[in-house]
Symmetry: C2
Subunit: 399 residues, 2 copies
């Protein structure tokens, strides 16, 4: 007798992972160079050289116990302070180490936030579809309910009528993800302001704060000079979950943080304790120590990602597809392009693409049918090879 729910989570086929495996299988038959695999969001840009230089220097100069020993549960003070100061410089805030709780990447960050804010099984959260499907799993562990409301298409902002109807006295938070996986869209400043206004009003109505959980692993991956509004400046009851997986191309190293800003309605200390307690209960206390030392140095030096390869890929892909008549969400950030299925049926279109060895993910996975996600964190050759196939697919779709 085991937990059937956990067994399901462990055994449930991930559509994205299955597509990736299919692509590898096809590569074995037709050759990897003939498969255009847009399935996974694994950064194609290497980690900045600074990262490995920092690792070398740390293990060469610091004592083993300092490098590989336990940090405090909330993380190493030096690392936390460096992150706070980096944020302060960039966003004009006044954070200190006491606002930063180190975690094992975005998954832990979001799970801790859900857990910290869940009162009991009546607690509810709201996500704006399209959204990362693991949110369903991460909220599930807390026993909370995750409701889904739609983005307004084609702008991929928030449908405020739907959102307002979905909020009730049990609503503990709204999770947003901007720049967005899978759409590549960014919430505009006016959207954030309107969201803050609505939540302020609803919090007053129900007599308790409705939090924003801002999932921001793509914060630094934006293009064309677009700016990503820094959510805590617009709404005080915001928890930020951050990960260095995408921005520093360190997805395997599981390093990130939860930011608990000052001035929260429930008391910043209280909320910080709840986040820290969730980390402890989830078995996630103390983020990987060597990586904390590396991140401390990266934050001190304000190391930023090399976006050039993504910029080139985005240009090539967008211009190519646009010329063929494809429509897509305005791709302001991330390394995803969210393509409208020209035949109106994203699952069928994904199958048609598969038949031409072009691997793309149907929007159903993200609770947004009618669209398809292309992860353009790939080699340039993949895009070049795929464009004629997309031209054929458009013809086929229009037949």
């Amino acid at each position: 007798m085991i937990s059937e729910k956990m067994k399901f989570y462990g055994n449930a086929p991930s559509v994205i992972r299955e597509l990736f495996e299919y692509g590898k299988m096809r590569a074995g038959i037709v050759g990897a160079q003939n498969v255009c695999d847009y399935s996974l969001g694994n950064p194609s840009v290497p980690a900045p050289a600074f990262v490995n230089e920092a690792i070398r220097d740390i293990i060469n100069t610091m004592h083993s116990k300092a490098v590989h020993g336990y940090t405090s549960g909330a993380g190493d003070n030096g690392c936390r302070q460096a992150i706070a100061e980096d944020l302060n410089q960039r966003f004009g805030t006044c954070y200190s180490k006491d606002n930063i709780y180190m975690v094992n990447g975005a998954a832990t960050a979001i799970t801790c936030c859900f857990k910290a804010l869940t009162i009991d099984e009546t607690s509810e959260f709201i996500a704006i579809a399209p959204y990362f499907p693991e949110y369903d799993v991460f909220s599930g562990i807390s026993g909370a309910k995750l409701r889904s409301v739609s983005a307004d298409i084609p702008d991929f902002q928030i449908r405020f009528d739907e959102l307002e109807s979905a909020i009730n006295g049990n609503t503990q938070g709204i999770i947003i993800n901007s720049p967005n996986n899978p759409s590549g869209g960014v919430l505009w400043e006016e959207t954030i302001e309107r969201l803050a206004g609505l939540l302020t009003e609803k919090s007053a109505e129900y007599g308790h704060p409705i939090y924003i959980i801002s999932d921001e692993p793509y914060r630094e991956l934006v293009y064309d000079g677009y700016e990503v509004p820094f959510i805590p400046k617009y709404y005080k009851d915001t928890l930020v979950g951050y990960s260095y997986s995408k921005s520093l191309s360190l997805p395997g190293e599981r390093i990130g943080y939860v930011l608990v800003p000052d001035g929260m309605t429930d008391g910043t200390d209280n909320v910080f304790f709840a986040v820290a307690g969730a980390g402890r209960a989830l078995g996630a206390v103390c983020a990987p120590s060597l990586m904390q030392r590396v991140i401390e140095r990266c934050a001190q030096q304000h190391v930023m990602p090399d976006l050039e390869p993504y910029i080139e890929n985005r240009k090539l892909l967008c211009e190519g597809l646009k010329a063929m008549g494809y429509e897509y969400c305005d791709p302001r950030g991330t390394f995803y392009l969210f393509l409208k299925a020209p035949n109106g049926d994203s699952e069928k279109f994904a199958e048609m693409a598969k038949a031409r060895d072009v691997i793309i993910v149907p929007g159903e996975v993200f609770h947004c049918p009618g669209y398809l996600r292309l992860s353009y964190c790939v080699d340039r050759e993949t895009i070049e090879k795929s464009l004629p196939r997309f031209a054929e697919l458009m013809k086929e779709a229009k037949q």
Copy 2:
């Protein structure tokens, strides 16, 4: 409104951590050399040189994406296979990568096991006191109940009469930890055999397996030629939680695994899926990638800890205290000595020791009053300096 339970977990004073902070405070006043701090189980032996050599070689020779990119959720196949083969060579087993699920250290390993085996809020687990107090938190996240039964003192084996009474139809598992934190004791082979017999009988009686969760971070830290029985060889429905925190002195790096042996009653695949699903739901999927590469090499080379400093400390401490008339649990493994309070009152004795700047942890923390834990992963000088104070404490206790 936030989770009061998580707030409590985040804010609850850890006695061990408070003692450590007290020791640091005193060090600021009387000088670090005058404080004998036995509070924390942080390995004093550096990680084997092989670890940093492996890190250097990996970052110098492998591509960034291979080093720092996502591994599969269950871990990198090469790392998992190397661990399986290391176990096979040492214990005569026939495991493969499919038996190994990589996790972020022992905390995640145990949390995943509890979560995988919890059916609903009626599910129960049993721990043998003294036990690591975080078990209460790790089982709490699953909603399961953790019952405590006593070890038989002074042998620190299992009180089978108490254990048998505690087992009922809701019992899903027994968590054991041998070599044991805090007692330093090791379960004898005859104890394991008797435990396996009882659980086999009870599993048949209740119609479902009662699992052993074997928490084994100290497996390699044993002395005087004692052997630690390998639990899956005695009882098939065993999950092993392992961490490299203590054996390779890598507590900060959060790397370990859950072993799901073949031939489990519920089906090894099913149990593996449940463990993997728990990891996913806990936000713990994909253990730190660079460290997985390091562990792969350590497992291939069968890298073992340098026990010499612990052996010397243990000898000095045990002989010194024994000559003064102290009694303690037979310290076969770990780097803890579990001392009987000579005045019969462990909390009071800990206070008396504190007054002499000797920091030791009362057994109440581990649900075992009357004893005190000394972590002898310290400098030799700490032990030398503490012995005269222990002599004074014995006199004081006898007054």
